[in-house]
Symmetry: D2
Subunit: 501 residues, 4 copies
């Protein structure tokens, strides 16, 4: 997830926008009218939480090893292998290399309906290498680091899966449990290809989580995002001797950028379009015959984004027309916005509140206070934030937000998620402070909260078929009149070297 919880200080609505509201009396009624079931739920939940606690030490260690590997998207070979080994050891069958992604895999247990899936990620971010110290000290300068906490994400989700499997086995509960090892979330749209290949076709409900600096339910929100590289091809010429013979690809990139700037006023304010010039010419005395813009566009709504994307393509075509150059669009990536589920949200919220937060010990607090001093933010949140659970709130479509390829999954399967306080309060994702947090006990303690909430919710779904039914009904309602379509071309394979090209 691209910078999931950053900026929450400055924009207090940010995180709140990711929380869901319970409005359906049907769902609330569910609990009120089923006291007997609720009682057995309490006992089941206790068992599940104990199973998570039993596995905690091992999976904290796994998270730490993946933190050390810090592998970039689609190149997470060691991280993926470690997770696969662990899942096999825990009794899961593993299918690796799915969806043309070398590091993707599906670990599964059980059979029949329902099919409940838990998502795991494990890719790192470039340049965020950092030791587990409260001051800026890279392990290796400019090397990748787990600044989005995906080492915790993949491990915590696996711990949930393993615990639920133990619980199912112990209680002879039917159904299929899957753990999806999903690579390259950070810009590689790894899950989109898995969706495209039909790997979620028979799944009934998807559960996910993401590291953050507070505890809450993720029920919809985030931004749909499309991205691509726009490469222009012109004609080189000596810029002093014969500039009139050249057709500048850089001119095209600059005019495309200018066209984008002029478009900003005329798209909805809650859209985002941002770009870099990834190739801007080789030498000033040569008219550039090749130049490239690397661009992303976002909007809370996939549908609105599609309209904006079409206009961006026209701007690119216009720039080519203006400059006598030709346009090539490659490396198309896309994440949909997350579709919330108002049947699952109150269940998830109840489970998270049941688990509760955690309280830092003295040494964690000392670390946290020192780290907060490096943040340079106006209002530093209290450390107590790790103890509390955010209430459900409706998504604010104008709140600043980021993007994730979980979005695409949520367009094809009912989906609900959590965020937990794995980062020192005030720390934004995609920072070295997040890398530091994700490699030490604060991150690991927060991870266990997520594992438990996921495991409890999965257990509920396996034991209460009406929950799955309600989730599907809400999903069907939300999808009425909508279709899921990814702009990633059907013949485009996963861009294994997307970071290097």
């Amino acid at each position: 997830m691209t910078i999931f919880n950053s900026m929450q200080i400055a924009f207090p609505r940010t995180l709140r926008s990711l929380m869901a509201v319970a409005t359906s009396t049907f769902c609330l009624g569910l609990y009120v009218t089923a006291p007997v079931q609720a009682q057995s739920t309490a006992s089941a939940h206790k068992q599940v939480e104990q199973l998570v606690d039993a596995g905690a030490a091992n999976w904290k260690q796994v998270s730490k090893e993946i933190w050390g590997y810090a592998e970039l998207g689609y190149h997470e070979s060691k991280s993926s292998a470690l997770l696969q080994t662990q899942m096999k050891a825990a009794g899961f069958k593993v299918e690796a290399g799915v969806a043309d992604e070398p590091t993707a895999f599906i670990a599964s247990y059980g059979e029949g309906k329902p099919v409940i899936a838990i998502l795991g990620e494990f890719d790192a971010l470039p340049g965020l290498s950092q030791q587990t110290t409260p001051d800026r000290e890279p392990v290796v300068a400019n090397a990748p680091g787990h600044g989005c906490g995906h080492n915790l994400l993949g491990s915590g989700a696996a711990l949930a899966a393993v615990s639920v499997k133990e619980y199912m086995q112990a209680n002879h509960i039917a159904g299929t449990l899957r753990y999806y090892g999903t690579p390259a979330e950070e810009g590689g749209s790894g899950k989109v290809y898995m969706v495209r290949d039909g790997l979620f076709k028979d799944v009934d409900v998807v559960l996910h989580w993401h590291p953050g600096d507070r505890n809450g339910v993720i029920n919809g929100g985030l931004l749909a995002v499309d991205s691509a590289k726009f490469t222009f091809h012109g004609i080189a010429a000596h810029a002093a001797m014969a500039p009139d013979r050249g057709r500048s690809a850089l001119d095209a990139v600059m005019l495309m950028g200018t066209g984008i700037e002029f478009m900003r006023e005329h798209i909805p304010s809650n859209s985002r379009v941002h770009y870099i010039i990834s190739k801007g010419g080789v030498a000033p005395n040569i008219v550039p015959d090749l130049a490239q813009m690397d661009l992303m566009a976002r909007n809370p709504s996939n549908t609105v984004l599609t309209g904006i994307w079409d206009r961006i393509l026209k701007i690119a075509q216009g720039a080519a027309l203006m400059t006598g150059t030709t346009l090539e669009v490659t490396g198309i990536g896309s994440d949909a916005n997350i579709v919330g589920n108002d049947a699952l949200a109150p269940v998830a919220q109840k489970n998270l509140e049941e688990v509760g937060g955690y309280t830092m010990d003295a040494s964690q607090k000392e670390f946290a206070l020192r780290l907060q001093k490096t943040l340079g933010i106006d209002t530093v949140p209290s450390l107590d934030q790790t103890d509390t659970i955010e209430p459900l709130r409706p998504v604010d479509p104008n709140a600043p937000s980021a993007s994730t390829d979980v979005g695409d999954v949520s367009w094809v399967v009912p989906t609900i998620g959590f965020t937990t306080a794995t980062f020192v309060p005030g720390v934004a994702a995609h920072t070295w402070q997040a890398t530091a947090s994700a490699g030490m006990s604060i991150g690991q303690d927060g991870m266990i909260i997520a594992s438990k909430a996921l495991a409890l919710t999965a257990a509920d779904l396996f034991t209460k078929p009406e929950l799955v039914t309600a989730a599907k009904a809400d999903f069907a309602r939300k999808m009425t009149g909508k279709t899921y379509h990814s702009p990633i071309p059907v013949d485009q394979k996963p861009l294994i070297n997307y970071r290097g090209n």
Copy 2:
């Protein structure tokens, strides 16, 4: 002619570039090997010059009346009527309103071959009203004025035609003499429609002249020019409430302009592209649904200009594509560059040298010296400049220059021209100082030089058929591999209100 002689101080090559060089040994030989004819030429020339002197007073007065009318392009009704009346009185047949231009006319005398045509113009320029005083004093503030001296142009050319007619009549010389009353040279491309309507189809040689601040032959040069209004249509919207619903036509104009700027590096350096934003929105709180650019492009070569014009159209289309607006191109104007004639040039040069310049009298000099003080130029040329004749020189394709619709005529008929010192030396066309000069004796004295040079050359053409033959041969050679094509659409009528729209 658009700013014919301006800037000659700063760019000493400017004027020289308009002068022709005699390189053809054929032409030079013509005079050497025909002494008898040369002798009779001397006598003929004497007669022609006397006829011009006899008509001078009347036509100076005509020039002064047209100076007073100061009518804008296509609206020169009084000026045209006066010239027609005068030509009829002198024995010419007049056909008026040709080529769908109310103020265009052709006055003709005689019949059969050869057909020799002299061009006359009579339109004024907006905002250049000025009394015949050496200080800035408009007759009417912001009113039009003859800042390009076309009052002299039309009158001096008519005097030449009338004198040649007298000479032909007196000497029973066969052939057809025509005077073309051509409106709207200043941006209206009046002659282009006359060319399009075939009015020059049977003409053998065209003669023309233009006021300036020195005496010389115009043998080719000047810039081909294309112009148009680019109007974009968008969608209005309240700019504060719903800017995302608007599609800004002003954005399109600005992106088109920016596209033009990026093109500059990649067209030949001696091109010119310039524009204004003639409509830029109505109110800042409304997304403009209409905006307009008024643009001109120039190059010494019609062919090169055609390529540039195509690219400008693509830039405009690109701007529309980028902004979701639609494009309308209207008011297309076009003047070709002047094609020189190396057979006629030495004849014209010899005749102009035969006529010689003129010397200002004391009061003219006093006026001239006072006027020069208002010019604000570094090097003020000597007043003796009116006495001398510039030598023939090849055209410099990089010299700053302007445009005229005489160019289009020169692409279909062999053409040669003169410039004479009608403006105080140092005065550029399109200034109030030029208006002042063109309304008083300095302009009128310079005009007589032109009348004589034109008349002598016409007389030569009527009496020496080999000259016409040589002119046609040179024309054929220059046109090899070229075709004349005006970008003005065939269904576009003359833009009678081009200044007001």
Copy 3:
């Protein structure tokens, strides 16, 4: 008020954002704990409503006459004179031509404290002339029209004032009642100069209203706006002969515009910046030595807007620096955002609910349904909308909105306002449909709702001193740490000809 209620269909939060929420238990408590006073209030309210009904016919007629005058900002001489005459006839003292504005006036009645003011506007909008027909039929093509309903605004507010005066007189109630005739709301910032001249210094509470297409309280919101003309001065030159000698003022305007476009991404999303090019050069063959941008910038917060305005000035300076031109900033206008008042809002809401809406009769409904067909909007609201009162809601800082110079008044005096359904539901302000509505019975019936709500609230303020005290306390709280400062230069007189220059 610039397009107050437009777009409410597409953006259902728009209008709601203008409504206030009652959160103060103090205020709510006020009514609960004062039953006796409430009883007498009922009788007083009845009397006030009857007084409004008694004056209704006359003031509907006044509104119709001003609708017919349709005078532009600062030139509302007939409209202002009619209102002054009426107020004098009703027993008010009138001071005219205040604040250097020929059409501004203050009508006052009574003396001593409290001082309660009601605001009236009466300027029309260019180009919106329209008959009272449901199809587009201008009275005079392109002439001004009351597309913002200020003919109703000024008349309805006056009717309220006259009724309250009758009530005060009848009941010997002390205090000062004022009606402010405020010109040029539409872009002229008329009230800002009145604030600057101290005309609101002794006022305790200000009441206002604005035509719309539904009924509700205006408690804060709208956008602060700054505007100015940015004129660049360059050096003219012939664009073909010597473009290198020119310094293009149009280049500066275009670069300033481009700079603005690049800034958009880096200001808060709920800001607005929009501009036209009001002067874009005179002729394409002259490098423009003068060009002008007319620009407005808006943000929900005056403070944020000040920061944006500073950056816009730097962009303009940068454009001058880039092009070798000089910059002149003139015609500065500014409206602040509206500061809400949470003590007054529940009182206003209660009164509006007491008045209630109105139900269209058959002919009104027929007219309304036909007019709605011309709107071209997706979801056409029900005509029942005129019957209902919107609940109080907090302002949404991201909702599309417009601006008004009432804002500046609200920064110096506690202020509360109403909007009522004077336009056919679905009709946006600043449209010909609004002009049509404002000239016929629908507009007039809606106006009476506003008159009553204003009069009831004024009566409350005169009879319940604790209300004034609470209003001032809330105002003081909101202003803590803030200062009001208008960017309009202190030596700038009202721009009487702002529309023509």
Copy 4:
């Protein structure tokens, strides 16, 4: 010399513009009135040519070794070392590492006046590695290659110096002869630092040459060039979460570029400004806090260029102002235009004509014809071009051209130069075809022509003091009212890693 002879096919005036014209009757008279001296000159010249022939084989081999090294500017350690070794072996004293340039050196012989200097270069160009084959076959893909023939330049100049030394020694001729080993001509401005350090202070005349595809004298011309890296520093921010907190350095670069484009119309047409975006942001989801433009500006006149450079700096400052970023200008490079010498030019011309060209043998012709097929040019020049000598012509200030740091030397010492046909006719410098030519016999044969012309001219200067006097007089005349000033900051050391930064 940056692309010295390219494009000569398309622009026939290009090369001609580099040739000088003999207009001074003084110089012509010199030869006419000094027959005795001319006679002894003939004998001296014969001796000098024989000395060159004697050294030819060795120096062809040196040129081939340097061709193999193909070292980039300031890193020509092997090439410089080889040349130093050779010069020492030939009896020169060598001072190495001058002007803070590790690979610069001065080899000198003799003492006293006059001091005559010959310039040598030896740096290669990136990406132009090519075998000596007529088809594209790099030695090492993307590696540097001698595409400007500086391997020949340095060796041929050294051969001239060594031959003149032998001649001086043999004839007991007094004076000081120097060979300047000048690194990094290609963009490193190596000679500018040598000029700055006063290394040419006591030199009387400088001689130079440059490989090309025809034979002629270089008497002035080429373009003055200034270059720099414009780095903008902004504020990074997450582009989706908080773009309003960012200040984009890329925006600044794009606005600077756009400002440059708008300036083009308003600088003299024969100027050149070209740039690339060398740093355009790191990731599209981060507002770039660093971006960089690498820019060059050129004009035939150093003085005009200074004015343009000042405007470019203002554009950069304007872009910073517009975007809230800061500007850093580094890596400033500069070459002046070449000042011709009309006293030396006819001497050089006479000597070159005396040497004459060379005729390709059959195998050279076969190679040349095959290579010409790869050129893709419209008109392929005849191979006879190597046999002929171009006449002296005045420099055309509008002809396309390139730049060299020889220019700066020519602003402080009288300078004259040659170009000879070392590249297959039609081959432009800075191409793989030039690398191929420079590595085989065609390049080597052309080099010997240059060595002889240089040696003859140096011999003349040592034996005819009046020539040095005349050269100095012409230099003094040309410099009247001018001063040499390089924009390279006095505290900027040579940019040893200019290619890598």
